[in-house]
């Protein structure tokens, strides 16, 4: 765990302690279970976003994708009565295809990630609303999917199964990002795409793969969100979720320029965001201030991190100068 991640963890614990001191219900089983479920749902989404951000890209369409894929999933199993495992696979595949298309447009046709995914944001929201004729997708009375419901909204030994899923995904993706050849390529591309290309890396393919991973994880979280809310009105479902995901990554130490950040960081970033949401509820802060609290905390966090970076860079320069003076050959 890096120093950055450790700092974030300490912040989470301190905020938690303060909230508990004011309102002990913070540590109640039911509150922890609810919060960890939300952490899981947003965590899976944010990990996907992190893979794109590490390449120096951005994925703005995930909120709309959650609405579209969630709507489709419920429609498939509730209205069209597809077997849910089949519907599950179709939704995940759709997520992968959409991620591939985004990556392809960005690397092959050289469009900017912001533009491509902004168009996605608009298109998928529109398609979702059209698909339900602006109605609400939901289950009919008495419709039950015991296995699916257990896997998505159930608990094992007090832990929400969604949270267990997050832990498994986080471990796998940690290995992918921090230990695999692919992960190293991602960092290299994020740091300097040209130099990575000059080292013989097929940068286009790697970037496309990052968008596919983001699409798949977004699709997975779309299913979780759908089973969590159980009814979806596509006009508002998942709105601003892309910003939650980006905020979690930024809080977790990712640079939007790419090449920086850790998987532990993005998970902790999600935890902190949900903790803040929870804090607003528990401390009786008007819920209208919700976004303002989040924005304020992110701003302060990034500011502290940035100032710390400036301080370290200055110290490093001082040291380098001292070494040079001590007789190292000038270039």
């Amino acid at each position: 765990m890096s120093k950055k991640d450790l700092g974030l963890l300490i912040l989470i614990l301190v905020v938690g302690a303060v909230v508990t001191a004011i309102n002990p219900r913070f540590l109640s089983t039911i509150n922890l279970a609810n919060t960890s479920n939300l952490v899981a749902l947003f965590g899976i989404l944010s990990i996907g976003q992190a893979f794109v951000i590490i390449t120096g890209g951005i994925e703005l369409s995930v909120g709309s994708l959650i609405a579209l894929l969630g709507t489709l999933f419920i429609d498939f199993i509730a209205v069209r009565e597809l077997d849910w495992p089949l519907a599950f696979v179709v939704i995940i595949a759709l997520g992968a295809v959409i991620g591939f298309v985004h990556g392809w447009l960005i690397t092959r046709l050289k469009l900017q990630p912001f533009v491509v995914t902004l168009c996605g944001l608009l298109i998928y929201r529109g398609v979702a609303r059209f698909y339900t004729a602006d109605g609400t997708a939901g289950f009919a009375f008495g419709q039950n999917f015991p296995t699916l419901e257990f896997l998505t909204a159930g608990r094992s030994g007090g832990l929400p199964n969604s949270f267990i899923a997050l832990i498994v995904i986080a471990i796998v993706m940690w290995v992918v990002l921090h230990r695999s050849v692919f992960g190293r390529y991602l960092y290299a591309i994020g740091k300097n795409e040209e130099a990575a290309k000059y080292s013989g890396i097929r940068t286009g393919r790697i970037i496309i793969a990052a968008y596919v991973i983001c699409g798949v994880l977004t699709a997975l979280s779309a299913i979780y969100f759908a089973m969590y809310t159980r009814s979806i009105s596509p006009a508002s479902h998942g709105q601003f979720y892309e910003l939650y995901a980006i905020a979690a990554a930024v809080l977790g130490g990712f640079s939007l320029r790419g090449g920086e950040g850790s998987l532990v960081g993005v998970v902790l970033g999600t935890v902190l965001l949900q903790e803040l949401q929870n804090l607003v509820n528990l401390l009786g802060i008007p819920s209208s201030l919700n976004f303002a609290v989040m924005g304020g905390v992110i701003l302060i966090g990034v500011l502290v991190d940035q100032q710390w970076g400036v301080f370290r860079a200055r110290r490093r320069m001082m040291e380098a100068t001292r070494q040079n003076v001590a007789g190292a050959p000038a270039e």
């Binding site: 300097n192 040209e194 000059y198 270039e331």
Partner: protein, 521 residues
Amino acid sequence: MTSTDTTHPDAAPFLSLEAVRKTYPGVVALDRFSMEVRPGEVIGLVGENGAGKSTLMKILGGVTRPDSGTITVDGAAHDGLTVEQSIGSGIAFVHQELNLFENLDVAANIFFGREPLRAGPLKLVDRARLREMVAPLLKRVGANFSADAPVASLSLAQQQMVEIAKALSIKARLVILDEPTSSLPIAETEKLLDVIKGLKAEGISVIFISHRLHEIERVADRVVVLRDGTLAGTLAKVEINHDEMVRLMIGRMLKEREKAGEAARAPGSVALSADAIRTSTYPDRPVSLELRRAEILGLAGLVGSGRTELARVLFGVDERLAGSVTLDGKPLDVGSAADAVANGIFLVPEDRKLTGILLDLSIAQNITLPNLPAHARRSLVSTGAELATAEKQKKNLGIKAPSVLTRTGTLSGGNQQKVVLAKWLAMNPKVMILDEPTRGIDIGAKAEIYGLMRALADAGVAVLMISSDMEEVIGVSDRIAVMHEGQISGILDKDDFSQENVLLLAVGKKPKSLQAAGGVE
């Protein structure tokens, strides 16, 4: 040459430099340099790459201060100029790299930041007045385009005219043209030379820097030659001729043939052969070149002659517009750097920090990056294998760093370059292309890099070394190919190595000694 000679030989010089010296750590860039520029005089300034021209320009532009010496502008003596003093006294630059806003029109560019404003609180640009101010300037440079034309729609020569008009707009008294013609086709060059004559007729002084010596011959009133940071000589108008300039540029070396080191080696078989390749920079100039095994082929030429572009095409990072490449006699289609690397064709690029290495990664991570799958088990990076490779390369190349986990960004230029080499040496190079491998590197590290290139050649690798350093090209290469304006103007065997021959080929002339022997392609 012209009957309207407006140089006033007796007039007080507008600018004079006296005993100017400038050093950088380890290098004397300019030493005991003196020159004068009189009003209405066109000075041709020539010298090889690295002779000190850029330093001189920086001093005149006020970007750097000389260590010692006096600069007298318009009668006022200074120890060094500031940028404001330089501009204020009427010294204007037109750089090879133009500083124009391509998205704005001509008028907006010429008066950028100094637009005439309309009365009123909104400070709107007075476009009518702006056009009135621009029209006479465009006329003076003989522009054949309108003030409303977007700069992006103009040809290079026209863009240069805009730059010159900009210089005139600040009432320039000395216009310094830094290789203005190096990227211009011949017809456009004519226009530019006419503009220079026009400036002269108005009594404006010009310093014209160019590698194209015949252009200097045509417009200069006097030629100042720089060599190794010192004044190699000054030629008065009647003395200006091509051979004399070349003699001064390369100095005493003229008659001596430099046969560095051993006798010519037996050439190896052809490893890489490029046939009629066209690059996007010179789409109408096919280039053919053969790289032989166990040989260092030096690729000389002036900056902008198309050497880097050729290397980039061979390495697959630039598109090959036409032509074919064979490796070991088999046709090879290199569509990306990844293809080149897979076939053992490696490039040590010119711009080390942007494309050679990743400054934020460690030495070890940089070295294994092109060959990471070989340092992985089941797609997971094996830190042990990675460190082993890196340690071995660090030792072999003598990379000076606390550990292989050190960030490459903290290393000196020479050590960074060794990291670039190390990543390729850790694999099995067949063809190694090095673009200015010793630029910005101290002398000790230079020698080590020469040694590494020789060792590669001895091991049977085909080495292509692009270099603008004449001594390096002659001292290190087994054969020298010279490029001129996108084409190979000649290939020299060891017996024909001389600075004179290389330079003549680089400026597009054929060395006399080779014409009879027919040694030039």
